[in-house]
């Protein structure tokens, strides 16, 4: 069974088009969702949560129809929003237990499970404190706990590492990785940080101006650079680089000091790098096969979409929230 499918989904806020004829089929696993603000990401998330019926089109998430079965859908989906979720006066464990109860769990089960999930996420000591007192990192984990309490099959995460310091970010990504790999949860990770997606997700969906530009495995999207290496050295390199060129290697200097990219012909042995360096009394301290950075993938695929100079007819680039008035005219659900 696929994770979710969307068929020709289109959504308008008043006259503003947020999604334009999107058709997708995604298999279970960890998926990244990238795009500019206003490109349709949040609209897609709302539709996937069954909170909003698209103006046109059909779809299903985990087998539940997005138009008709929104409520049942949310029993199997956990959502971790970017915004703060606060219900005043509750302690951490009470908050998560409330989340469980609202997902249909009987009260005692919800409470027991809340304790368990909070312990798993490292909030064991803080769970009896009022959650208004939590630090940023703790609040993020609390949101994740509320999303996990009813053991969903799919987690929708909106900027899960926002506001976290490097240690916290690393911990959160590690946690998400474990959930995805070891416990078989599917994730949809919506974020601007491509580093996060690289770390956690196997596939990625790129949305731009209301259309899905790309969906696919990250590995497959990365351009296969055969015979392309990044070299780093210590010492003077000019003659070394000239030697390389004379051997038929294309050398590209990209501005970083003591570094260059070498594009080698067929049948090249990396030993030759060392030999040539040795000839010139130079020491190589780095040799890596070049792989396309996810960032470059994104640029490449997105830049192909926007024709120069053309003003977008549909949603404005990085268009911000749709007009308040327009948003109110078409409520979902």
């Amino acid at each position: 069974m696929s994770l979710f499918e969307l068929e020709q989904v289109t959504h308008f806020y008043g006259r503003l088009c947020a999604l334009n004829d999107v058709s997708l089929r995604v298999d279970p696993g960890a998926v990244g969702l990238v795009g500019q603000n206003g490109a349709g990401k949040s609209t897609m998330l709302k539709i996937l949560l069954g909170l909003m019926r698209p103006t046109a089109g059909r779809g299903q998430v985990l087998g539940h129809d997005i138009r008709k079965s929104g409520v049942q859908l949310r029993a199997r989906v956990g959502y971790m929003p970017e915004v703060e979720m606060l219900v005043p006066g509750l302690r951490g464990v009470e908050f998560v237990a409330l989340a469980g109860e609202l997902s249909g769990m009987p009260r005692r089960h919800a409470l027991r499970r809340a304790h368990e999930v909070l312990t798993y996420l490292g909030l064991e000591e803080a769970r009896y404190r009022h959650h208004e007192e939590y630090s940023v990192g703790m609040k993020q984990r609390l949101k994740l706990a509320a999303a996990l309490v009813h053991d969903p099959d799919l987690l929708l995460l909106d900027e899960p590492t926002a506001g976290l310091d490097p240690e916290g970010r690393e911990a959160m990504l590690e946690l998400l990785n474990t959930l995805a790999v070891r416990h078989g949860k599917s994730l949809i990770l919506s974020t601007h940080l491509l580093g996060d997606i690289d770390r956690v997700c196997e596939s990625v969906i790129i949305v731009h101006r209301g259309t899905v530009v790309t969906v696919g495995r990250i590995e497959d999207l990365r351009a296969q650079y055969r015979g392309r290496f990044r070299l780093q050295w210590q010492g003077q390199a000019l003659e070394f680089l000239q030697d390389l060129r004379s051997e038929g290697v294309q050398v590209v200097v990209d501005g970083r000091p003591d570094e260059a990219i070498a594009i080698v012909p067929e049948g090249w042995s990396t030993r030759t790098f060392f030999a040539l360096a040795d000839n010139r009394n130079m020491v190589l301290c780095g040799l890596q096969p070049e792989m396309e950075e996810l960032e470059h993938v994104y640029h490449r695929l997105v830049a192909a979409q926007s024709p120069d100079g053309a003003r977008p007819v549909i949603a404005s680039a990085d268009g911000g929230a749709p007009d308040e008035f327009a948003a109110r005219r078409l409520d979902g659900d």
Partner: protein, 344 residues
């Protein structure tokens, strides 16, 4: 030499030409680094009631980009606010271009882009930036010219007429940056500038920062996204518990962490045989086999290791697929510094 001692003994390490750095003059020697420091913190401490924010910090900032890294609660925001003149130090002095940061005169030298935003939601972005320009003392014509220039720099020229209420997070960030730049300050302080900005925008704004650095501005950028700090910041400041733990370029700081041998990732056609050769070397502290062909090797004295390694490769005919230093990144160094700082 521990981190702590380093920071007390060498407050001027930032921006000092690499007299103490290993013998590799950088291709991009920055002459700007010879300028007198524009920002000086002289043993500055600040506390709020009983809570201490910053504890005897002495640093100097010179033109170029300096990254400010640290855990949440380490005192970064306090440091930034002291620099921007929003807080007065409880002890010590903060000098900006020779005047106290707290004074009104200093404000014209500093552009501040905070991480929170509080705007007049009813204004348009353009009007907001223009108002900020007027508040800095520009007359109406100069203000609107500067506004247009700065909006073009941050990429908001065509979108700045809508009311701020309807802006996405990324657009708000750009307007914040615009108002920090509008009076062309020499010192620009940004706290989490790329929050909420999509990947393309991040690249654009990072390029903007780099061009500002090249133009001779002094930038202090505080961010948690360490891989971006890698490319962006020439020098970094690590903060923890209100103190400066380390200051310098990433390479310099890495070199100082001699408790942590350099971590290399090597892959070769005959990895295990290579491992068996390397394990005999004194320079090699540890070898770990991961995956099929990956060796993770910890070495002392890298400047001796690499030539020996090259000789080994040539003599024994290994086909090396990868030779990579994995821990001169801001991320790895951050971990090491935090660990080091915990020892006393």
């Amino acid at each position: 030499m521990t981190m702590e001692k380093m920071s007390v003994m060498n407050p001027n390490l930032l921006g000092t030409q690499s007299s103490q750095a290993p013998a590799e003059p950088s291709a991009t020697t920055v002459p700007l680094a010879d300028h007198a420091p524009l920002v000086i913190f002289q043993e500055v401490s600040k506390w709020y009631g009983p809570v201490i924010g910053v504890n005897e910090v002495s640093i100097e900032l010179r033109p170029g980009i300096t990254g400010l890294l640290g855990a949440n609660g380490a005192g970064k925001t306090t440091l930034i606010k002291l620099l921007a003149g929003q807080l007065r130090p409880s002890l010590g002095d903060v000098l900006v271009c020779g005047v106290r940061a707290w004074s009104a005169a200093a404000k014209s030298h500093v552009g501040f882009c905070p991480d929170v935003d509080v705007f007049y939601e009813e204004m348009s972005g353009r009007a907001f930036v223009q108002t900020m320009a007027r508040l800095h003392g520009f007359d109406r014509r100069a203000a609107s010219e500067r506004t247009e220039e700065v909006l073009a720099e941050v990429g908001m020229s065509d979108r700045a007429d809508r009311r701020l209420r309807g802006y996405s997070k990324g657009m708000r960030q750009r307007i914040k940056l615009a108002q920090a730049l509008v009076h062309d300050p020499d010192i620009i302080v940004v706290d989490e500038p790329l929050n909420g900005i999509d990947p393309v925008g991040r690249r654009e704004l990072m390029d903007l920062f780099q061009s500002l650095g090249r133009r001779g501005k002094t930038l202090l950028v505080s961010s948690h996204i360490l891989d971006e700090m890698d490319t962006l910041a020439e020098r970094v400041l690590f903060m923890g518990r209100g103190r400066i733990l380390a200051a310098g370029t990433l390479k310099e700081i890495r070199d100082m962490l001699d408790n942590h041998p350099l971590q290399l990732r090597i892959s070769a056609d005959r990895s295990r045989e290579l491992a068996s050769r390397l394990v005999h070397w004194e320079l090699v502290r540890g070898i770990e086999l991961r995956g099929r062909d990956d060796l993770w090797v910890q070495v002392h004295r890298p400047s001796e290791f690499f030539p020996r390694f090259a000789d080994l490769v040539l003599n024994e005919g290994f086909e090396i697929g990868r030779l990579q230093t994995t821990d001169v990144t801001a991320g790895a160094i951050f971990d090491y510094v935090m660990k080091e700082a915990a020892h006393f």
